[in-house]
Symmetry: C2
């Protein structure tokens, strides 16, 4: 959290707090109608103090365009539900078989595999409840947000990216790596930006800016992740370092080198900041969030 | 397929064919934007010749109310995507650890656990894409359909029911069993009926009828499943018989006896047929589908 620009120093903690409160309130609602053990498993992973980058991006775009009201908040929570479900399923023994996530035992270590799978399923489903439920006047925006969310999270997006990631026959080529990350993390990060615009009923121009910004930030974010896996400590990261390279997963530093990776991420962020000027003419929170997505220490 | 009334003899095969074509077309669209192996796993489970009861119920309600157009067809496909995902995940080693489904090896036996989990995730996500994507004029109905689908499939519905089903500390009481099945199978069957009404822009009265009919049919369907597990053959069922009782899963015949189970299912169907008279004043397809849901041989 050291590498944080002036614009984010107050905004990011306040926004993270806002998101925590929204997620905690939602979790309380869920618990009322959910078998206790399932609600516990959902809560354990959803309220674990993640960075909340996706909801923050969604709210930042909505706020930059005059605010998106409850639709933006619901979309923000939905994005975090989907992100959380993907982490739970990625950590499963059949996938990455990870034991630690953000410094705590992974879901299947605490609740067992069956409940971890189901908690993920429930969080994914909850996301679409959140995003599609609102007053009739919001229905067009909400249907569109849900549709985009499904595209980003599904077979041609995040799930497809995970399939590319676990494939046995991955070619060790930068092109494959970029496609993998465009799907696995990029699609949902881009959707986060677009959903903020849709919730605020932004213009087609704003939507196009969100597209370009989200696309570049998404890839830069993943490169930064790969770089952190090499340069950070387990303590700062909350999970073992060099896990990716040890697992034979090929990463940006492995494919193009460490310095070239940092440069690539930096160039993408310069471009993202440029793209978002139509939404935020004086560089502010959105520009700073782009920096933060690669300058972060975890 | 022997126990089929006059009303269904032409309607059901024609409707099943219609659904197969819709699902196959959708699968072709999915395959274009999806890693090959993932598309194969989705196709393997989605196009495996299931009974298609949920989409049939959805289309039957829509047609009884004047037709629901593409919204009804999309909802029908979404229901089958969600049903299919739930079967893939239920069959996983961490859950029921089943090797056969409809006479074929289960998804994880063919594609491995990781891909089976991801194929399920992708089908669930695809369902919400299907149901939320359409012309602007349909947005209110589509947002509502997606919202109801999420409620039925999520933590307080189908996923919650599966959690009750795999719990170690299940009380051997009829009340618990009924609650389990109301969530695990009942919620989605009821949603199938309601989505048909919503797609056709049916009245509040029609929606209430779909509620009562779907609720009773859902429970009767599950009782019939339990009865078939005791009385049918592996060949007719496409999976081992007495698997549920052997696995220590308590079933309706085990809790209330075989004859009482049959009587309970019969009484529920009489009530369901009664409830649907406001939608279908002369008993036709809907009345016959209620019968079929308990008289079927697989």
């Amino acid at each position: 959290m050291l590498a944080m620009s002036f614009e984010l120093r107050a905004w990011l903690p306040a926004t993270q707090q806002r998101i925590e409160r929204l997620l905690a309130d939602r979790m309380d609602l869920i618990a009322v109608r959910t078998p206790t053990r399932l609600a516990e498993a959902m809560r354990y992973s959803l309220l674990d103090g993640g960075k909340r980058l996706r909801p923050a991006l969604c709210l930042a775009f909505a706020d930059a365009l005059g605010g998106g009201g409850k639709a933006a908040e619901d979309a923000a929570c939905a994005l975090e539900c989907i992100h959380t479900y993907s982490l739970i399923h990625d950590d499963l023994p059949a996938m990455d078989d990870d034991e630690l996530r953000r410094g705590r035992p992974t879901s299947h270590k605490v609740f067992g595999e069956a409940l971890a799978i189901l908690a993920g399923d429930a969080l994914l489903t909850e996301a679409f409840w959140l995003v599609t439920t609102g007053p009739a006047a919001e229905a067009p925006a909400r249907a569109m947000m849900a549709s985009e969310l499904a595209v980003a999270a599904g077979a041609g997006g995040m799930v497809g990216g995970q399939v590319l990631d676990i494939a046995d026959d991955r070619p060790a080529a930068q092109e494959y790596l970029m496609q993998l990350h465009r799907l696995k993390t990029g699609a949902l990060l881009k959707a986060a930006c677009r959903l903020g615009v849709l919730a605020a009923k932004g213009s087609a121009e704003a939507l196009a800016a969100a597209d370009r910004y989200g696309e570049d930030l998404g890839l830069a974010f993943q490169i930064a992740d790969d770089v952190l896996d090499v340069t950070s400590t387990a303590e700062a990261l909350g999970k073992p370092v060099k896990a990716d390279s040890a697992a034979g997963r090929f990463t940006f530093p492995a494919v193009v080198g460490l310095e070239a990776s940092k440069k690539l991420a930096h160039d993408l962020i310069v471009r993202a900041r440029q793209a978002v000027l139509t939404v935020e003419p004086t560089p502010g929170v959105l520009a700073a969030l782009a920096e933060y997505s690669v300058e972060r220490t975890r």
